[in-house]
């Protein structure tokens, strides 16, 4: 338990001293995960909405499969992307392995199903509420996609936060495709893994506390945004 107590001390020390290495690791973590979130949102939001609104054969199977993909193990995604980006693999010529870009790709693959599946559910519920009126006004399924996504914007913030949380918390994918290279592809989670393997348990846990603080700040900010907006727009 002293490890835990020391961990808080370590976390404080790291934060107060604005440790340069820590700052760059935090910056990279945010860069990678936010980058992945952006791309995952661009793909996942419309895809999830379309899945909710368009009827086509195989729709139910795709939905079930998409929901299952939410449970993709990060290490499996990492392995898959590694094999694809490896020099011996199909996309080796892109020279992306062991770079932050590869990490963004892996995390995007990891969280897009989450964003799409949760969006699908939200939009489906909304369509049940709005569908008749929107169709009466002349909106087809396609036209309704941006309308419903915008209408669900506050609930979607929660969806995006879920995706971001998953990205920032995972270590399996970024470890394999990034290689945990010091000063280049080292992020919070891989640092924690490294320090743990060196036996620096207090430091590892301290880093974990810093990571949690980061997550807290992001979530608090999103909550504030939702609160003020809901108050203004019902």
């Amino acid at each position: 338990m002293t490890v835990v107590a020391n961990a808080f001390g370590e976390a404080l020390r790291l934060l107060i001293s604005f440790d340069a290495e820590l700052m760059s690791i935090v910056a990279l973590s945010l860069q990678v995960s936010l980058g992945a979130l952006l791309i995952a949102a661009v793909i996942g939001l419309p895809f999830g909405a379309a899945l909710a609104l368009y009827e086509f054969p195989g729709r139910r199977s795709i939905t079930v499969f998409l929901n299952a993909l939410m449970g993709l193990p990060p290490v499996v995604v990492g392995l898959f992307v590694y094999l694809a980006l490896s020099r011996a693999g199909p996309f080796g010529f892109l020279e992306l392995l062991f770079t932050p870009t590869a990490m963004v790709i892996a995390q995007t693959i990891l969280i897009t199903p989450i964003i799409a599946a949760l969006t699908r559910q939200l939009v489906e519920d909304l369509w049940r509420e709005y569908g008749e009126q929107l169709r009466s006004l002349g909106s087809g399924a396609g036209r309704a996609i941006p309308t419903l996504l915008w209408d669900a914007r506050y609930a979607l913030v929660t969806v995006l936060l879920a995706g971001l949380g998953r990205a920032m918390a995972e270590v399996g994918a970024v470890m394999i495709v990034g290689g945990n290279i010091a000063g280049f592809t080292r992020v919070m989670t891989t640092s924690i893994a490294l320090e743990t393997s060196k036996g620096n348990l207090s430091l590892a846990l301290g880093l974990g506390i810093v990571l949690m603080l980061l997550a807290l700040i992001v979530n608090a900010a999103a909550h504030l945004v939702r609160e003020t907006a809901t108050r203004q727009l019902g």
Partner: protein, 271 residues
């Protein structure tokens, strides 16, 4: 559709953009977790970069994985510590030439209480036999690393069929050296470790160094350039610059100068 893919690729590149990469000369070194965990690279590589302007990206994984990585062409230089595997790597055409770099040794770690009674022994195979007879908990890395291969070799030398003992006392964690040490600490178990990782390790708990000095615990490190004929993209010039420096008087001195808690961890022996 194409514009969408292109935009996404640009987004990904932008998101992963790192100003440092574009202009620098960098090479990729596949090495082992034990070497990384000891802290040697943090000491060694900045010296090389200062001298040559070449930055080295270290991918630290188990020896087996490092070799496979190098075979696939995902690294430029290989630095591991299992001579038979390294020689096979060169023989099969994946590497140009193997150079000795440095050595250290393995040590047998175990619980301070030492239920198998091996403390202070000079014969490591005898110690292994005692552990097997006592069925004392033993943590194996089980990850096809240099350490793991060395350990398996020692069981063979001790004439213990380690594959047949089951997992009641022989625990294969499939992990790096540090993680294995953490597990051994948690289980109060025996574990074979390289000395460098052990000295640098900060979670020793009730573990102690019990057996050392046997010649069979000798641990040799070798460095190899990945063969540009097999993988034309390999950065041969800079890779060779690194190998040349590592085996030069300057590099060897830098290796010897690396100390943890006042102890030298790696002993240069390039020819």
């Amino acid at each position: 559709m194409k514009t969408i893919l292109r935009t996404l690729a640009v987004l990904a590149l932008f998101a992963g953009a790192n100003p440092a990469t574009a202009a620098d000369r960098t090479i990729r070194l596949a090495s082992t977790t034990s070497t990384e965990n000891s802290g040697l690279f943090s000491h060694l590589l900045p010296a090389f970069e200062a001298r040559t302007g070449i930055r080295i990206h270290v991918i630290a994984v188990g020896t087996g994985q490092a070799i496979r990585l190098a075979k696939r062409g995902d690294a430029d230089v290989l630095l591991v510590h299992h001579k038979p595997s390294e020689e096979r790597f060169v023989r099969e055409g994946f590497g140009v030439r193997r150079h000795d770099v440095m050595y250290n040794d393995f040590v047998l770690i175990g619980p301070a209480g030492d239920p198998a009674g091996i403390r202070g022994g000079k014969d490591v195979t005898a110690a292994f036999r005692k552990i097997a007879n006592a069925k004392a908990t033993f943590v194996s890395r089980g990850d096809d690393s240099g350490t793991h291969k060395k350990e398996r070799g020692l069981w063979r030398a001790a004439q213990v069929d380690i594959k047949a003992v089951g997992s009641r006392w022989y625990r294969e964690t499939g992990s790096g050296m540090g993680a294995a040490l953490n597990t051994a600490s948690g289980l109060s178990a025996y574990v074979l470790s390289d000395r460098a990782t052990w000295i640098a390790f900060r979670n020793k708990g009730a573990l102690d160094l019990l057996v050392e000095g046997d010649k069979r615990l000798f641990n040799q490190y070798g460095v190899i350039l990945v063969n540009p004929r097999k993988h034309p993209h390999v950065k041969a010039k800079d890779g060779n610059a690194f190998i040349a420096w590592l085996t030069s008087a300057d590099g060897q001195k830098t290796i010897a100068a690396f100390k943890v808690k006042g102890l030298q961890l790696f002993f240069p022996n390039a020819k």
